[in-house]
């Protein structure tokens, strides 16, 4: 038998009830990753990246959120059908998450030690509880792992006493302390300065490779995806519009949105800035029919206004949800 994928999301819809109706945020998201992969998820503000990941961990506030349709599998088990007890296990040792803003992710009124040790205690085998000394030792080890000096002192300090870069290191240490199989990193460097971001990303890559942890890296910066991942999903307005191996995506982006996004990135080599993509992300209360990108798409054709495009396979690993590729044949080859 084949091993089930580490994560598989099938046709996931997430709606939020707000005053005025339903925000139809996720509109049939499909996503697959195998164990050991480094997958990127790129898209602009409000395209549903974080919502998708929160759905995997089932930490979406319900209500207002609602999942009218869809399935999420972690190692072949449907997360949406799990009991709280099973979920706690997955959150404890299966999946960890690093958030964009380490300041908000850490509790300001508890010391680093209290927070880190709580995570370690909670995630360890409940039948054989660790002694306080063991917990302390593990906490120190996880701070050393993220290259923080003087861990004893750090364990006694409070988040406010650390810099942004140090806080993010603590969060990474905390996320990896439980030995997760999957790490979800949601814009891990965005709130930091570029030289500090570079350090954090290099640390993250090193740790993930050492421990062979699978990672989903969420970001809106294409450059980060290029440097950190093997495969990339591009998301727009609640849909996965393109997926490809990282190299291939950067060499030949196919979806008009991906192309627009690539063109819009200012280059170090100069040559001016393109005008970007006209318009803005749709209102989720009343999203456009058909392809959600069609009002902004320079290549939109008649059918785009009426029907939602299926995913066309351009090659083994390259899929694109756009009617322009309808002629390329489904499941056949060529790119």
């Amino acid at each position: 038998m084949t091993v089930p994928p580490l994560v598989e999301i099938k046709n996931l819809h997430v709606h939020f009830s707000v005053y005025g109706g339903q925000l139809k945020v996720l509109d049939g998201v499909n996503f697959v990753m195998r164990s050991g992969e480094k997958v990127g998820l790129v898209g602009e503000t409000g395209c549903g990246k974080t919502t998708t990941m929160k759905a995997i961990l089932r930490v979406l506030p319900m209500p207002p959120a609602r999942i009218p349709q869809g399935e999420i599998y972690f190692k072949g088990r449907d997360i949406l059908k799990m009991s709280e007890g099973e979920l706690a296990q997955i959150r404890g040792r299966g999946i960890s998450m690093i958030f964009q803003d380490p300041t908000a992710a850490l509790n300001p009124v508890f010391s680093i030690g209290e927070q880190l040790e709580a995570v370690i205690r909670y995630s360890s085998d409940q039948k054989k509880p660790l002694s306080p000394q063991e917990v302390h030792q593990r906490a120190i080890a996880s701070l050393q792992e993220v290259a923080l000096a003087d861990p004893e002192r750090l364990l006694r300090s409070y988040p406010i006493q650390l810099s942004g870069g140090m806080r993010q290191r603590v969060c990474i240490g905390m996320a990896l302390a439980t030995g997760p199989e999957l790490l979800i990193a949601d814009e891990p460097g965005t709130s930091l300065d570029v030289t500090i971001q570079d350090q954090i990303l290099r640390l993250l890559r090193k740790l993930v490779e050492e421990k062979n942890t699978s990672i989903i890296l969420i970001t809106h910066t294409l450059g980060i995806v290029r440097e950190m991942t093997d495969r990339v999903y591009v998301m727009y307005a609640g849909n996965m519009v393109e997926v490809a191996a990282t190299k291939e995506l950067f060499a030949s982006p196919q979806h008009p949105y991906t192309r627009g996004l690539m063109d819009a990135v200012p280059r170090l080599t100069g040559g001016g800035v393109s005008d970007g993509i006209p318009g803005r992300i749709p209102n989720y209360l009343n999203p456009p029919p058909g392809c959600r990108f069609h009002p902004r798409c320079p290549q939109a054709i008649e059918i785009c206004r009426r029907e939602k495009p299926p995913t066309y396979k351009l090659s083994e690993a390259h899929e694109v949800a756009c009617f322009l590729y309808a002629d390329n044949g489904k499941g056949t080859q060529s790119s």
């Binding site: 570079d198 280059r267 800035v273």
Partner: protein, 334 residues
């Protein structure tokens, strides 16, 4: 070469943030800007790049008149804007600013018309205001009926266009752009940038463009200055700057940028990688403030603060590595 429109000489801006010592008599100061000198030429885009806490916004706010300098001089077209207690209206009109986050720089309770009208009312009271509002909206490529909308009804990019229209309402000659696109998505950024470039040509504007994004800077600025902890460490023409970065901090900054193509990868200095933390501006290291993170540090660096040296024509660096007279030493031969 065109003349300088703005000259900043040895500008210092310190903020007192508390007291320390016996009987709390010694003030604790943040040296937000500590001896910055540069000149912006007529019609150019002068880029000021730095990480958070480097003092780039303090420079901007001082130039626009929100702060009075602690020391140093600012000269705008031969005049000192701080000569009198209050800045004359005619000078205020010339220097305008666009802020980073249009979500908070536009009053949510005012319509777009009221927002754009305010500078008109103060600086150009005799003109037909509606006509001017329409003209300004057209200038930033927004339809005239937008004047009846409120900021919350607009997208981030459109809000920033309104902020630009407001800055241009006084018909300024010098505009400070304080991270005008960093709150926006990359697909929207391009439109704003190209609009700014077009307006610059049309109205012969000079820009002081502040950003932390070097890739963006490469595409908009004619000259670039890099700031670190309140001081400028390198100034050069943009093309030269990216071809030949001298200062170790500049090299570190360039090597840290995530890029999207192989060609760009080749431009990044390979030998240097980012280390260390940015020190707190309250407690700036002695000597060269970068020495704790510098891979090329020497004995002298922790003791003596280096001075600006011209390494090539128009390219100045503040680093002891290049102190051996002003002969040019390409970074590759260090």
């Amino acid at each position: 070469m065109s003349a300088d429109i703005l000259t900043v000489t040895d500008l210092k801006k310190y903020f007192v943030i508390g007291q320390s010592g016996l009987l709390k008599r010694e003030p604790i100061t943040v040296k937000a800007v500590d001896g910055v000198s540069f000149a912006v030429r007529e019609g150019e885009t002068f880029g000021l790049v730095g990480e958070s806490g480097s003092g780039k916004s303090t420079v901007a706010y001082t130039v626009v008149g929100m702060y009075r300098p602690t020391a140093g001089t600012i000269t705008f077209r031969g005049q000192n804007p701080f000569a009198n207690k209050t800045r004359p209206l005619a000078l205020k009109k010339e220097i305008q600013i666009v802020y980073q986050d249009p979500g908070s720089s536009l009053n949510p309770r005012r319509s777009i018309k009221e927002i754009i009208e305010l500078p008109l009312r103060i600086h150009r009271p005799d003109e037909n205001r509606i006509e001017q509002v329409v003209r300004l909206l057209e200038m930033v490529e927004l339809p005239p009926d937008y004047m009846y909308k409120y900021p919350r009804m607009l997208g981030g990019g459109e809000k920033q266009m309104v902020a630009i229209a407001r800055a241009l309402a006084t018909n300024p000659s010098f505009v400070i752009l304080d991270e005008p696109t960093s709150a926006l998505d990359v697909s929207i950024q391009g439109k704003i940038i190209n609009l700014l470039i077009r307006l610059q040509k049309e109205f012969h504007l000079s820009y002081l463009f502040i950003t932390h994004d070097l890739s963006l800077m490469r595409n908009v600025a004619s000259r670039v200055a890099i700031m670190y902890l309140g001081k400028i460490c390198e100034v050069a023409e943009t093309a030269e700057f990216f071809r030949n970065p001298y200062h170790p901090y500049t090299q570190m900054l360039l090597s840290s940028i995530p890029v999207v193509s192989e060609e760009e990868e080749k431009l990044k200095p390979q030998k240097i990688i980012s280390t260390g933390e940015i020190p707190s501006p309250v407690n700036i290291p002695s000597g060269c403030s970068f020495h704790l993170r510098c891979p090329a540090r020497m004995d002298i660096c922790s003791r003596v603060d280096p001075v600006m040296i011209e390494v090539e024509k128009g390219h100045t660096v503040r680093c002891h590595l290049y102190a051996r007279a002003s002969e040019s030493i390409p970074p590759s031969e260090q």
